[in-house]
Symmetry: none
DNA sequence: CGATAACCGAGACGGTACGTCGAGTCTTGGC
DNA sequence: GCCAAGACTCGACGTACCGTCTCGGTTATCG
């Protein structure tokens, strides 16, 4: 990822006009799929070029720039679109649901299509606030809200202590997955017990069982 | 950050020859300092160019490429070199030492010089294993070992449960700092109570104090 | 003049495509004129850089490389384009026409724009046959054919002996001009009688008038 | 051939110092031979680099620059040194001697070692007067003087007309060889009758035998 | 139904940076 | 003061992309 840096750019999803020939739905799809195909064929997100994408998609460069203001916006959009849909967590104890959530993160991280990874944008998030804003609004905040809701239920049901910052809790939970995605991209994510271990460790704490016991 | 991607590159610190005019120590320093100076003056890590660095350092491009195989290697090297030195954690309870460690991470993340941030490399770590290897060996693994040692003391002293994967524990601890650096680079890191909160949350667990007790 | 030597390069005049935005006629002209302007301002052909030309022309380097495969091809093309147009030699005796032709060569050699001189390519002609081929086809052969035609008329009209290799004759005639361009570039070319002297010397021979006379 | 052009450089043969260790004769020879060897192995004069020469000669670059002020000076020096020694023209008619001289030129042009050809310097002669001066003094002028002497004998003996500029005559004679070296480097030089043809053509003139006869 | 506005693929445009190479100079240790 | 080796600065090479701008041609919708 680079762009010439000046960190301006207004990141936005494709914006529609009103008159004349309408934009080709097919072209848009071809572009996104071309990115995915290139990713599959070994190109890293950062090593992607708009020219390459256009060629792979059989599309003119202008057709891309008509839809996204720049390369980063396109790539981030692909990232957002390929975010796995988080399942509805309906029944069960809060503990079990937390494990389910962690499993979702683990599988997301494993997913072949997860390759367009947030990692590629971490640096841009700092430099291009719009980029971060978009990802935050579309992915991070909804996820965080959902988690907060769940934990609130846990608090109400007595499964979770009431004096805890729920957002911080989310960050702690996500920590290991994030660490393995960002800092140790070759780390092992295959162990299906990982999620349960994390949740239980956090629930029980790491200090030996207290007092009277 | 980009490079032409092919993810080959042999990342290594400048390797010295033995015959002929020796490499100029001054030049090397000038280069690293030029990077830092550019960072200060607003250039983002990703927006840095070798040509700009050479100019700022008053050095020929070849002098840079003689020492590092490409831009990324140089930038990573600067990142490694500017990593704050982790203090010796000598006395006190394990809990207090953990808080100190977290404070170190928080301050690192805040530090002006932290701007050459890991975030810029997260994507490269996936694509260029040598890059990751170097960072892992020089920064991550030492840090992890230190943490493991400390937690082992905690286990021995009865402050930490014995049945926990210490590396995983490290990942959990670091989680919030990582999350705020990578995913929420504009997040608040100023609260000095944050470290204690995280450590204590983890020590006590988030489930209400357990029964019979 | 140098290039990295390997003497491959396919020298050709700018070749047009058929689809997409057509090549800018203006850019092409700007490039050639920039070369000429630089020549005027003192830069020697050999000391010319593509970067300098691009800058002077207000054009991207790629725009140059899109049209010519390398620096030498561009420079040769400029040389060919600035070759003075040989006048039509219509009336008069063959002797007078030969003098006219020699005058043309003399004036070409003198011409300000003659500065992009063949001399700069003499070495390349040996190493890069395509370069020579192009110059031969576009400049040398037409000139030689014209000369051959004229001399043939001379033979028919009894002004020139019939047993002479007309191409060799051409080489002999051109000799002094070539010598002064290549070996004695500071030699005197101002004497307007030079051409007549050469032609008459050659017509009459250098041996004293023969026999009966 | 290029150099950064500024056409200054003081061209001179290796100039000796006075104190300390004397210059290695062997090194000098190794350098010249390295150039010749590179020429043999296909490198063109223009495509030669000082670094390559130094490597081929097993010599430091400084050792070269201690002897010649720059690349062109070295190359010209090699050119001058490899100039074939012109034979003594002792007996026979002036016509026969002229043919011998032309043969010498033809063989020089053919000679394997003639590859370090004047052609490579034609452009530099214009831009770097010192370069031309040296070649002129060491090669061209002696040759011209010898020719002038011979022709003077011819005039005295009645073989050559008295009213002719002898230097111009030399240029006319050399013309075809020069043309074939410079403009038609792939031209045929194998015909041993060529020299006689040129000389006789010039002696007799190209106009039909004159009147009264 | 014909005009017209916005689309489309292709590819050229001015730029910036890449990583490499070479020129001519400087600096080691060693003879 | 020489030597080989190889550093140094500088500047150009030819390539690759960026984001923009034309081309000629196509396709919906409006008048």
């Amino acid at each position: 990822m680079n762009s010439t840096d000046p960190a301006q750019a207004t990141i936005q999803a494709p914006c529609a006009p009103r008159r004349g020939r309408p934009r080709s739905e097919a072209a848009e799809q071809a572009i996104v799929e071309a990115v995915l195909r290139l990713l599959d064929s070994g190109t890293s997100l950062g090593g992607m070029s708009v020219e390459g994408i256009a060629a792979e998609a059989g599309v003119g460069k202008a057709t891309i720039y008509r839809r996204w203001p720049n390369k980063d916006a396109l790539l981030l959009d692909v990232l957002v679109r390929t975010e796995l849909a988080e399942p509805e967590y309906v029944g069960g104890s809060v503990r079990d649901t937390l494990v389910e959530i962690m499993e979702f993160f683990r599988e997301s991280a494993l997913a072949r299509r997860e390759r367009p990874s947030v990692a590629a944008f971490a640096d841009q998030f700092r430099a291009v606030p719009e980029l971060h804003k978009r990802y935050h609004e579309q992915v991070l905040e909804p996820r965080r809200a959902r988690l907060r809701g769940l934990l609130a239920i846990g608090v109400a049901g007595g499964e979770v202590r009431a004096d805890i910052d729920l957002d911080l809790l989310g960050e702690i939970l996500v920590g290991p997955m994030l660490s393995r995605t960002m800092l140790h991209p070759h780390a092992d994510l295959d162990d299906p017990k990982l999620s349960a271990t994390i949740v239980d460790t956090l629930l029980q704490g790491i200090a030996p069982v207290r007092s009277g016991t």
